[in-house]
């Protein structure tokens, strides 16, 4: 079938993405003295999520809208790839830029498939190809293909926002603009949608400009974060870890919050930290051997493991009074952490159990080391803390357990 061939032949590269470069971009509304966006210069690298975050009225949405020229800048320039947005016909420019807004703005009078196919239709794709693309995107966002024939009012809010994202992706845009896309969704579904989008981003690698007023969302979603302050100025442009470890000034420090150390821990896995070695004891081993291991060890008590090196419990002084290590340890094992756990969740588990440290196991449940409150606090104070960094799409997803 020739049409089929044409579809495959014209299929766009899934990884098309361009950097977005603001060059002294300024927006001044007539009649108001202070600019809404003041001399903004920053680069959102291709394939990364760049979050614009700040209090209301800081100009973040205006800054985003200047990219697709739904707000025209007063001076300066914005380049997508190497091309200035000023040189483009506004409507044509917008067809290359995905656009997702908080209120979603699906067309109530068009079916879900037609909504997703809206930009392809503007670009003159034939019906067959647009339909195939809609089906492909429905699958990508995990919606039942049958929903394609429904109208937006027949979908839940979360489903509608997924469709909003799919519609923005339909023509494989070079850049995505997302204006508080999950702002109107309830907290549980918001978390789910954020996680889904990060998984999607790991596949599609778009350049995303993401606007939010929520610093937690910014830290979670951003490869880079531009913290903006009133008057349309960037207070700091940095990776989440830099922002949390090293806020540029008091404004940023206040904005990221006093719990920034904890927020930092949400960005890492247990495996990112050097653990203490556990003094290991086997059932029936001579007590003297075990005592020797405790010399100079960071953990005061030996950890009893089975023949597969799976932890059984902590041995007390009394357990070691006999000649050999008993099969039943005196103290319970307490929390057991996984190497892939988010450090913040691991810390919560330790504190919840009223402990100072806990055993960490690998995927097979074998002992890997010991994580303590002390290690975490030392880590946060060390320069290494700033170096450890994941892109947003590779980061552990907080709010999800690893074993699912």
């Amino acid at each position: 079938m020739p049409t089929r061939k044409a579809i495959e032949g014209e299929k766009p590269a899934e990884h098309a993405a361009s950097a977005v470069r603001y060059e002294a971009a300024t927006k001044r509304y007539s009649g108001s003295g202070a600019p809404a966006v003041d001399d903004l210069t920053l680069e959102a690298p291709a394939g990364e999520i760049c979050v614009l975050v700040g209090p209301s009225g800081c100009g973040k949405t205006t800054a985003m809208r200047m990219v697709n020229r739904t707000v025209e800048m007063t001076s300066g320039d914005i380049l997508i790839g190497e091309r200035s947005v000023r040189d483009r016909n506004a409507a044509q420019l917008r067809r290359e830029i995905g656009y997702v807004i908080q209120q979603i703005g699906l067309f109530p009078h068009r079916t879900i498939s037609q909504n997703i196919g809206a930009v392809p239709q503007l670009l003159g794709w034939d019906k067959e190809r647009a339909r195939a693309r809609s089906a492909e995107l429905l699958a990508l966002i995990g919606l039942d293909p049958e929903l394609g024939d429904r109208y937006p009012a027949q979908l839940s809010g979360g489903q509608q926002q997924r469709v909003g994202v799919a519609r923005a992706l339909a023509a494989d845009p070079l850049v995505m603009l997302m204006d508080e896309p999950f702002g109107a969704i309830d907290p549980i579904n918001r978390e789910r949608l954020q996680n889904e989008f990060l998984r999607l981003q790991a596949e599609i690698r778009k350049t995303v400009l993401f606007v939010t007023h929520d610093i937690d969302e910014a830290i979670k979603m951003g490869d880079r974060i531009a913290v903006m302050r009133e008057g349309g100025k960037v207070a700091q442009y940095a990776t989440p870890a830099e922002l949390l470890m090293d806020p540029a000034d008091e404004f940023v420090e206040d904005f990221v919050g006093s719990d920034r150390a904890l927020k930092r821990l949400a960005l890492m896995r247990v495996s990112d930290i050097d653990l203490w070695e556990a003094p290991i004891a086997h059932i029936g081993q001579a007590s003297g051997e075990v005592r020797a291991k405790l010399d100079g060890a960071e953990v005061a008590y030996p950890l009893l493991v089975d023949s597969e090196r799976r932890p059984l419990g902590w041995l007390s002084e009394r357990d070691l009074e006999g000649a050999n290590v008993p099969a039943q340890p005196d103290s319970p094992l307490g929390p057991v952490l996984d190497r892939d756990d988010v450090v913040r969740d691991a810390l919560a588990d330790i504190l919840q159990a009223g402990a100072q440290y806990a055993a960490v196991t690998d995927r097979d449940g074998r002992i890997d080391g010991v994580l303590s409150v002390e290690i975490i606090s030392e880590f946060l104070g060390s320069p290494a803390a700033k170096v450890e960094e994941y892109g947003a799409a590779e980061r552990p997803l907080s709010g999800e357990t690893v074993d699912d």
Binding site: Q103, G105, F107, L122, G164
Partner: protein
């Protein structure tokens, strides 16, 4: 006093004098409610007026829609036009149709044209206002999304705003059509024919006559209304989609 006014004043009298002279027993008897014998013999005399009435209504509504819709669409992008247009159509709406017939006489004389112009003028406000309200009610987020994805202003208007304004536009057409069916009964005073003609001709105090003419008008109004409802249902399938 100018000559046209002298000519216009006795209009109604002229109509009433045209009344038929042959009277049936029950026509003379004002006690009887409905005169079936007379109705059977004279029903065919309502055929031409009915067709005229239909023509008046269709012309007035279609021309009124064409003008009012165009004005609403033009004023949609030029907001400053909206207050004067609302005022202008409002004035036309409030002028009683009979008065309008007289005002038009020196220009268009007696006939269908005069009647259609007056009826059309009456319609403008209803259709204009409903179209404007319909366009204004389109959610801002939907328009923002449409523009943001690269629709031109024209595409936003024709693909998004007008389809979404359809329920209000058709609501306006329904009011306009039903009102016009009623008011077109006065067209005969302007010499435009219609079902007002037999009413005056056979006697406004002859119940059988008034009931037949009135019944035809009510049926006509109901059929138009029903057609428009069917039309709206076909044009706005999303309105009936069962919610999740």
């Amino acid at each position: 006093m100018t000559s046209w006014l002298l000519e216009a004043l006795p209009l109604a009298e002229v109509e009433i004098r045209e009344r038929t002279s042959d009277t049936l027993p029950c026509q003379a008897n004002s006690e009887s409610f409905f005169c079936f014998d007379w109705a059977k013999d004279n029903l065919d005399k309502y055929e031409t007026p009915t067709l005229q009435h239909l023509k008046l209504v269709l012309l007035a509504v279609l021309i009124g829609f064409a003008i009012a819709f165009t004005l609403a669409v033009v004023a949609h992008r030029r907001r400053w036009l909206q207050p004067p247009l609302l005022a202008a159509t409002g004035v036309l709406y409030t002028i009683p149709s009979v008065a309008f017939f007289f005002l038009l006489l020196p220009f268009t004389g007696r006939g269908v044209d005069t009647a259609v112009i007056a009826l059309t003028a009456f319609n403008l406000q209803i259709i204009y206002r409903n179209t404007t309200v319909g366009l204004a009610n389109v959610p801002a987020a939907v328009k923002d999304a449409a523009r943001g994805m690269g629709q031109t202003d024209r595409q936003v208007l024709w693909r998004v705003e007008l389809p979404l304004a359809m329920p209000e536009i058709i609501a306006g057409l329904r009011i306009a059509t039903v009102s016009t069916v009623a008011i077109a009964s006065l067209a005969t005073l302007a010499g435009g024919g219609g079902l007002g003609r037999p009413i005056f001709q056979f006697g406004i105090d002859f119940k059988t006559n008034v009931l037949i003419a009135g019944g035809i008008m009510i049926a006509m109004a109901l059929v138009f209304d029903w057609l428009l409802i069917i039309g709206q249902r076909m044009l706005t399938p999303w309105e009936r989609a069962a919610p999740a």
